[in-house]
């Protein structure tokens, strides 16, 4: 969409006005600074997704809408998670982080902050693998996605 103030609120407003849900939403400018790219995750029947797509297309500032589920695609989400890390926990969490191919990016005597990217499912799985009481704080970006292979989204 056009990288203009207000464009994001039009999208968000559309979803609340029409009763569609937003699971997650990420947005940032692209290599062309006049454009932003947004990845929006929603859940609905085929009919609802079709309406969502059409309604988004109708917004004047939206340049192009694609449903990534219609083809092969890659999805990634970034999570930062602060966990308690005391005593034996320190090794265990480090191992777990390795298994999930995350990295520890901040350390104190009592905590680790871990950076993890992957599909939203993988991030969920990581959180499940940790003792719940050890999780002090999480922040997630929501998924962003791109088509597989040489196919490119052009406007």
């Amino acid at each position: 969409m056009e990288n203009e103030s207000g464009a994001l609120s039009r999208v968000a407003g559309l979803f609340s006005a029409r009763g569609y849900n937003i699971e997650s939403l990420t947005v940032a400018p692209t290599e062309d600074p006049t454009l932003s790219r947004m990845t929006l995750v929603t859940i609905g029947s085929d009919e609802v997704v079709e309406q969502v797509t059409k309604q988004l297309n109708k917004l004047i500032e939206v340049v192009k809408v694609i449903d990534l589920n219609e083809g092969n695609h890659i999805e990634r989400e970034l999570m930062l998670v602060k966990v308690r890390a005391i005593g034996a926990e320190r090794d265990e969490i480090m191992r777990l982080t390795e298994i999930f191919r995350g990295s520890i990016i901040d350390v104190t005597t009592k905590s680790y902050t871990i950076e993890l990217t992957g599909t939203s499912c993988k991030l969920d799985a990581f959180l499940k693998a940790i003792e719940p009481s050890a999780v002090l704080e999480t922040v997630r970006t929501g998924a962003c996605g791109i088509g597989r292979g040489e196919w490119v989204l052009r406007v």
Binding site: S9, Q51, K54, Q55
Partner: protein
Amino acid sequence: MNVELTGAEIAIRCLQEEGVQCIFGYPGGAVLFIYDELFKQDKVRHILVRHEQAAIHAADGYARSSKNVGVALVTSGPGVTNAVTGIATAYMDSIPLVIISGQVPTAAIGLDAFQEVDTVGITRPCVKHNFLVKDVSELAMTMKKAFYIASTGRPGPVLVDIPKDVSQQLTQFVYPDKVTMRSYNPVTKGHSRQIKKALELILSAKRPMIYAGGGVILSNAAEQLTELTRALNFPCTNTLMGLGGFPATDKQSLGMLGMHGTYEANMAMQYCDVLIAVGARFDDRVIGNPKHFFNENRKIIHIDIDPSSISKRVRVDVPIVGDVLDVLKELLKLLKAEKKKPDSAALKEWWKQIDQWRERDCLKFDRTSKIIKPQKVIETLYEITKGDAFITSDVGQHQMWAAQFYKFDKPRRWINSGGLGTMGFGMPAAMGVQLANPKAKVACITGEASIQMCIQELSTCKQYHLPLKIVNLNNRYMGMVRQWQEFFHGNRYAESYMNALPDFVKLAESYGHVGMKIEKPEDVEGALKEAFKLKDQLVFLDFITDQTENVFPMVPGGKGLSEMILV
């Protein structure tokens, strides 16, 4: 080097460049510079309303009756919030408007400044698009885009919010002659393969039905729709918004369909085997309960310029995204070249069935009553104006009777708020109609409740000598509400009785107009004739009508189209 103009001058110059002759508005602090520029020129005429809601309705009536974009000008804060009802009304009915609103100076935005509201935020859900102009250098292009967006594709209102300092800033003025937007490219031409598929389906139909909506009016395709319908000998029904898109007096017309549609139209809609929807959006007031609608099998062709109108409430078989005018022209061309003809034997049977439905005479009413029947007033109005007046209406029973009993043969003659159902629309809209069509007969059909929602506009009508005929069907009730309470709420008429009504005759007179009160059926015709003889006067006709009359047929909420309550 060119001379520099202020933002205010530029705003007015843009209107001139767009050929705007008439705008409707109300001044205030944030738009004073713009008013100052209006004052200094005489190409754009400004009509001073008495309430901003009326400014928008008037611009809307102007647009609906003239094919032009309607323009309104309001101040920040309360000016804008007053305008919102009008904007939402136009949005629901896809009417092209450009609304210019004043805003507090850019430096004051966000500081809870005097008369500040988040105009872009408040209006966002009820405009096709809106802009906040942050720099005077963007103003001309923004105005150009506003007119372009409002009038192309599925039309709609576009708002341009201009902060006061922007209206003072200087820049060179160049009005762009073209605008291209990578994110907005409405389709006009329909997909030719889809159109071919549609024609095949049309020619295979045994019980066809054409269901034509507001899109036919908006795309100026009444002539093509009429030609196609006649060439095929198919029955045609119109939505409330589509009246006049096919001549109501044509023998192939089944009248309006839907909640208060005719028996024959609703039955044919339910039992057709091929439905051709033309610029109509399968509104809930039109198809009744969708589940019941799909108890019958039929194939649906849907022509609409807005992809999101297609398969929104009803799955269709042959979607055609495009401008009705283009698509109908293409269909007509293909039809002429086609050897196969419609199945005339099947059509004969179908028409026989339809004629049987017609015999039910669903719009009958007591013609011997000693009390004025509202239907009779409309019928007489139709006869006296020879079906050639512009009719606006408010919202309620009177609106439905107007739609049922005034036979519109031409497009853009019937002007009402269908989608939002805005009481108070009728008189201000009629002002816009009269200004766009100075010589035409313009009547506003209203009720004693609706008319009071914008009654202050009687003053505007006086100032600009607008000789409207206000046909007030005074039943002392919010009749439409009372009808629902009678049918669905055990006759408990909660707050729907209109108490303490003004003396409308004196009220009209106090504004300098003519008032008439008509209480007997035998006086209806004479009064209407006299009113139209007073060519230069606004006449307020207060018809004291039957309090208990109901609108029939009626498809009750949740019921199917064929489950009408009939008289």
